[in-house]
């Protein structure tokens, strides 16, 4: 097992594997840009499939319409995470060693093992030799500080941890993204003006949630209390803007705020954005005895290709509210201004209802608020009103702050890792019975800016020049 572990560690810690995996993920990511992705736009996927029947088989086989959740992409990401973990671990060990070296060399009484010595001419004064070395090293960009019989330059000791911190951040980011996919929920919820919806899957038109997401741990209700087609902030119309309220399950208001692009509503891990708007027709089902049996609201979107109507939307009247199951379609005629259709609630709103009942019975009517149309079972459908609805993007993701934190830490770490120098240079005067020398310890790890040879040459040339001057 230990042997296997070592082999696995060697394999995963290989820089070639890390580079290969990055390139592999880059290529797979590129493939994902060639065809529409289901996660982004399902209708476009359907359009693409219809337009490219010859390629559909290959694309489906490789799951290219959902490439970023395909097994071969996730496997690559998992391997990269493992490789990053091994790499981060190794870098931490190296950083600790370098940190100890930096701290020990920085001590005033430390006598580090020299990497090379530059022999001094007989009678050379220690102070003069160190002065020469200071000037020489300054010339090649090394500013050493003088401390009695030595010169020292040590970089910021904690900079040696930057690379390992960056790699740990990358690993944490991958884990946080994966955790986010498990606990996150996101969807589009249509909420008519003056109404509210519980934050449960049934309230959403489109919704996706990770397997670990809990809809019941925090119970919230999302409502829209006001809606403005034009909302000006700072000289700019922010577009259709709803006033959104989040309440708890007892009806207590937790937060109330207008939402427009770049100004979302936040409450805990929930973030609410405006996505779109449309009209909503509310109606009641009145029994043959004149009593109201049910009340509901249908949301109606403006068509992408202009039809002059909001909607249609189809719904079924079933169960206890009607004696017969009836299919109903509703749409709202829109006002025109010249050739333009106004995407707003008409001054005198009406709704067109059409129904199909069992046995082929059909009927239709255009109703104003308060007007009713008869249904085959003797009941009546009454239009209560036409108003706006706001389609809200509701995202619940507790991992977002973690992801932001990791990104910021990673950014700082990668900046330090790439820009900060990691080096230590110590020059000290050594005197033995038969010779005097300048002993040099140089640990030039990353972004050192100079080489050992350059340091040696600079000191030797400087001392030689000095001796020549003295000889002259």
């Amino acid at each position: 097992v230990r042997d296997f572990g070592k082999k696995a560690e060697r394999f995963l810690g290989s820089p070639r594997l890390a580079i290969g995996l990055m390139i592999y993920l880059g290529v797979v990511a590129y493939l994902g840009t060639l065809v529409p992705q289901g996660s982004l736009d399902a209708p476009k996927v359907a359009e693409w499939v219809a337009a490219h029947p010859a390629s559909t088989g290959v694309v489906r086989f490789f799951g290219l319409h959902s490439v970023y959740t395909a097994w071969y992409f996730l496997l690559g990401a998992a391997l990269l995470a493992a490789s990053t973990a091994v790499c981060a671990w190794r870098r931490t060990s190296v950083a600790l060693r370098r940190f100890r070296v930096l701290r020990s060399v920085a001590r005033a009484d430390a006598v580090p093992r020299p990497d090379f010595s530059v022999r001094l001419a007989d009678g050379t004064d220690a102070s003069a030799a160190l002065d020469s070395a200071t000037a020489a090293l300054d010339h090649i960009g090394l500013k050493l500080k003088r401390r009695e019989d030595r010169l020292a330059l040590t970089s910021w000791p904690y900079s040696v941890f930057a690379s390992s911190v960056f790699h740990w951040s990358l690993l944490l980011l991958i884990i946080a993204l994966f955790a986010g996919a498990l606990v996150r929920s996101e969807g589009l919820m249509g909420v008519p003006l003056g109404e509210s919806r519980p934050n449960v899957p049934a309230s959403y038109g489109v919704v996706s949630a990770g397997p670990w997401h809990s809809w019941t741990s925090v119970k919230r209700v999302v409502g829209v209390e006001d809606f403005k087609l034009v909302y000006v902030v700072g000289d700019m119309d922010r577009g259709p803007t709803p006033l959104v309220v989040i309440k708890d399950d007892t009806g207590k208001v937790l937060i109330r705020q207008v939402v427009y692009p770049n100004y979302p509503l936040r409450h805990g891990s929930v973030i609410v954005h405006p996505n779109e708007y449309g009209l909503a027709a509310s109606f009641a089902l009145i029994g043959s005895d004149g009593a109201e049996r049910a009340r509901s609201t249908e949301v109606l979107d403006f068509a992408k290709k202009e039809t002059g109507f909001a909607g249609p939307s189809a719904f079924a009247l079933t169960g206890a509210s009607t004696a017969e199951n009836v299919e109903v379609r509703v749409r709202v005629p829109l006002e025109r201004q010249g050739r333009m259709v106004k995407h707003s609630v008409p001054a005198s709103p009406t709704a067109q209802f059409a129904f199909t009942a069992p046995g082929g019975k059909e009927g239709s009517a255009t109703l104003q608020p308060g007007q009713s149309m008869p249904l085959p079972d003797g009941s009546q459908l009454r239009l209560l009103g036409v108003t706006y609805y706001a389609r809200l993007s509701v995202v619940d993701d507790p991992t977002v702050p973690v992801i932001y934190f990791v990104l910021v830490v990673g950014l700082i770490a990668v900046s330090v890792a790439l820009l900060a120098r990691q080096r230590v240079v110590v020059v000290y005067f050594a005197e033995a019975a038969d010779a005097r020398s300048l002993d040099v310890t140089a640990r030039l790890w990353r972004n050192a800016g100079v080489t050992s040879t350059e340091i040696r040459t600079a000191i030797e040339d400087s001392l030689a020049e000095r001796e020549e001057e003295q000889g002259a």
Binding site: A18, L40, P261, I271, V414, L419
Partner: protein
């Protein structure tokens, strides 16, 4: 023709003369001509900068909306990058032989594009836009500088007698690496700022939109460059080739993707919200 357009044509002219003069000076080893080429190119920044300023004042926003503004500002950033290189290492001014033709192509492309200003939409109206775009331009400038230095490195490797007065090859190699390192940091900031902004504007920090994906691909390409250099010890011509090949990926990400792909993210360049 408006003052802005006249100034733009003046900078096109100066950049073009600068590019031709750079090639002439480098080929015939005429030091003074290379110096002149640098100053002509940098002089082009003056009308270009004023034109950008006029546009900025007229539209009320920095040059980040529409092909004309975006690509013209990238040309401006490229010439500024040349100025920075020449300031850090005056001998490296010859990098203009690689940078100026790119700048001319970009500003030429911008001049051919429609120039009607795009409106700042509520989605774009955020301080994150400024951060995001600023770091995009900074990263692009750094990468184009690295590209030019790497190209000069490769040129001199094949014909050492040309450009003999430049710093040692090891210095060029290190300089190219430093520009890539700085560009990588800027690119990372751009991506992180973009992710945070996307969450503010759309409610998701990452959606595998083509521009997001290509930004990640660019990041991976430059991360691979840094990895090969720092862990595999790739230096010299290998690293130079890498820096040269990587730039088109970055340019495609910034300019090509919004045109090639049908993406909501591309509205900043095409002005069309698809």
């Amino acid at each position: 023709m408006t003052t802005e357009i006249m100034l733009m044509w003046a900078s096109v002219t100066l950049y073009t003369i600068g590019a031709i003069t750079f090639v002439f000076g480098a080929v015939f080893k005429l030091e003074k001509v290379v110096w002149a080429a640098l100053w002509i190119s940098l002089a082009g920044l003056v009308p270009h900068g004023i034109a950008i300023g006029i546009r900025w004042a007229q539209t009320g926003h920095a040059p980040y909306l529409g092909f004309y503004e975006v690509v013209s500002s990238y040309a401006f950033a490229a010439v500024v990058a040349l100025g920075i290189i020449a300031w850090i290492r005056p001998q490296m001014r010859v990098a203009g032989i690689a940078i100026m033709p790119i700048a001319v192509l970009m500003i030429g492309g911008a001049m051919l594009a429609p120039k009607s200003p795009l409106e700042l939409t509520p989605t774009l109206a955020s301080y994150w836009l400024t951060i995001h775009v600023t770091f995009a331009k900074l990263s692009y400038s750094s990468f184009i500088a690295a590209f030019a230095i790497a190209l000069v490195y490769l040129l001199r490797e094949r014909r050492p007698e040309v450009l003999a007065k430049l710093p040692a090859q090891s210095v060029l190699d290190d300089l190219a690496f430093r520009f890539v390192a700085v560009g990588f940091i800027f690119l990372s900031v751009m991506i992180v700022a973009g992710a945070i902004w996307a969450n503010e504007a759309w409610g998701r920090y990452w959606a595998w939109d083509p521009i997001e994906t290509w930004s990640l691909i660019s990041w991976i390409v430059y991360a691979a460059y840094l990895h090969t250099r720092l862990t595999l010890g790739w230096k010299g011509s290998k690293a130079a080739w890498f820096a040269v090949i990587a730039l088109p990926v970055m340019v495609f990400t910034l300019i090509g993707v919004p045109i090639a792909y049908n993406s909501i993210h591309g509205a900043y360049l095409t002005g069309v919200k698809q």
